[in-house]
Symmetry: C2
Subunit: 379 residues, 2 copies
């Protein structure tokens, strides 16, 4: 890898290769060497991958900022932009799919942090027309969410998704990260028949406030996550989420209280409070929101403490379904990441292997056990 050259191609905001490359980590993937940026640095996104042998770059997906109030959040963020688009934000597993080698190489699914997930890669090859797409667009990356109840990472239920499916929410240049404009991207996806997030419309930024409010009400009632608003060229984007999502994420975090950062918890509460103020919640509505928030926090944590007390397993529960080889590769991958996996069942259904497992939450289990045994907290 030519560092000077890579630095320039990445458009990093430093002239000193070492400034950037000290944050890269080397991983071996299918006989090739991947250099992976483990944190956003010098204008280059976290999860950016450079493949040693081909010198191909797969740029990380940018972090999407969030507004806490729609008005003036949207008009202010998109000042000077003629037109914005509103699409659903899905609660799934964000992977970039790209052909990162030379000719004849196969597409790989890269996680947000730049790992190649063998399970998601296998599912993507099965479910998406990757050969046809990359034959025409070899230097593009498909930015997708893997959604549904049967994935090794998330479990959000979506109506009509029984196992797992892909939704393509962005198509970008693999190396520069430049997005295909939103309307073109939606046509392109339609052309290849791939799933996309729901479309809520296109308008001036100030008119988008009302559209987003209505969309959020509808999504909230259905227990869905929220929206992403983008400039029509796809360059700028901002997200906004539903009350039910805030509460669901709190419930998740407090079900494994010692695995998650304190900031995770705090930020969801902050979102909910600003939403309550902007929505002009009545006293009754505010009380209802507060009570639901409290139940989302306390019930899952109490339930987990009881599980530890009763000797039941504690952790994220997942079900995966796929080819036996891909399932084996997944467990090797999880093992490489030092996760402790407790397999609860392993069976065949219609030629697929179906495994239910728990990612054991060792911190939560051990800390709770310690306190239940009378351990003290120094504060």
């Amino acid at each position: 890898m030519d560092r000077e050259d890579s630095l320039e191609r990445l458009g990093a905001t430093t002239d000193e290769p070492a400034d950037l490359f000290e944050h890269f980590e080397q991983r071996s993937v299918g006989g090739r060497t991947h250099h992976v940026l483990t944190a956003a640095r010098h204008g280059v996104e976290r999860g950016t991958v450079i493949v040693e042998e081909s010198d191909a770059v797969v740029r990380g997906y940018p972090s999407v900022p969030r507004v806490l109030v729609l008005d003036p959040g949207l008009p202010s963020f998109f000042e000077g932009t003629d037109s914005v688009t509103i699409e659903e934000k899905l609660d799934g597993f964000n992977v970039r799919i790209a052909v990162a080698g030379g000719d004849g190489d196969v597409p790989l699914a890269f996680t947000r942090s730049g790992y190649v997930c063998p399970y998601t890669t296998a599912r993507a090859r099965d479910r998406l027309p990757l050969a046809a797409f990359f034959a025409e667009h070899p230097t593009k990356v498909l930015c997708t969410e893997l959604i549904g109840p049967e994935t090794p990472y998330t479990t959000h239920d979506y109506e009509g998704v029984d196992s797992h499916e892909f939704r393509v929410f962005d198509v970008r240049d693999r190396e520069s990260g430049d997005p295909v404009p939103v309307a073109d991207r939606r046509s392109l996806c339609a052309e290849y028949g791939v799933g996309q997030p729901r479309w809520f419309g296109r308008s001036e930024p100030s008119a988008a406030v009302e559209t987003v409010r209505d969309a959020i009400d509808e999504l909230d009632a259905a227990g869905r996550e929220g929206v992403v608003v983008k400039s029509a060229d796809g360059e700028s984007m901002v997200k906004y989420t539903t009350e039910s999502q805030h509460h669901a994420e709190l419930a998740y975090a407090f079900s494994l209280p010692f695995e998650h950062g304190r900031d995770f918890v705090f930020s969801r509460i902050v979102r909910d409070a600003f939403q309550a103020v902007e929505s002009g919640d009545s006293d009754d509505r505010l009380r209802e929101r507060a009570r639901d928030l409290g139940e989302s926090i306390l019930h899952p944590m109490v339930s987990t403490i009881r599980d530890v007390r009763d000797g039941d397993p504690v952790g994220e529960r997942h079900t995966v379904r796929g080819d036996p080889d891909a399932i084996d590769a997944l467990f090797e991958h999880l093992d490489d990441q030092s996760l402790t996996i407790d397999r609860r069942s392993d069976r065949r259904e219609d030629g697929k292997r179906v495994v239910e497992f728990v990612k054991v939450a060792e911190s939560s289990r051990d800390r709770i056990q310690y306190y239940l045994e009378g351990g003290t907290r120094d504060e």
Copy 2:
């Protein structure tokens, strides 16, 4: 100050004076130089003060560990101890009162972090028989809580306390920190007629579980903080708090959401969850606790966001009452600590000066303002 000598007198767990003294800060108090330890280090408590001119040491008050479950928390913590005492823990301002100079010097009130608070010092001289006590016990320190609605630091209401009062919860050797045994300390306080925290009894550690449970139920119903359980010799101690205190502290933290550490919030929720599990809360009782928790979190934060939106002041509101000179000294002291004070009223009542003021919560005010103006959050 002779560092080698001080190191030995403090019983520090290092032989190298610089290891400890690099964490000391120098402050000038009434013409004397105080060296103050700003964080617990090498077995020496935070807030420990060495007075330059007299070489007197005022040892910091030790941090009190907490159990999250009473059973087996108490028997386990006090294993090998014959007898423990149970006293109320009060929600006030913890100050140590000591004569830290030589002969003829006056008693000073030291905060937890080793500052001398001029207001608390003046109130202590007014309300406590300090001259008589220190004439007999010049090397002791009175460990007290300043409680009541009219203090510059806390505002917890206690029945029968209209303005502010002192409660002595410990008497220790000023230099070694060795406590007077609990029963002797209570007799001593009674002898001098100074207020003390409520006494709930003395028993074997395992029998204390039930006593504490009953005490906590009673204190919770009265909206009071909790208990401290100590070995009879006063050497070991542990605390446990009520649901109403957890929720009150969350309400306080979320009323100033960007002033407080995320850990503050998290730890109160953890306490509540373990208490719910140990109490064997029924589904209804658990739901009630969860809803109350949610209301404690969301309502104060929404209220503060609305205040910022409406241009109302945001911060802790306090009322102080005392001699005009002491009030002036208090505001100078708060000013020295870089606090922004917004005086809301300033009047005389029965020869005392009464000032209502807000400690302006600049972080919360500014962050909330930024988000309300449409500022984004990068997550």
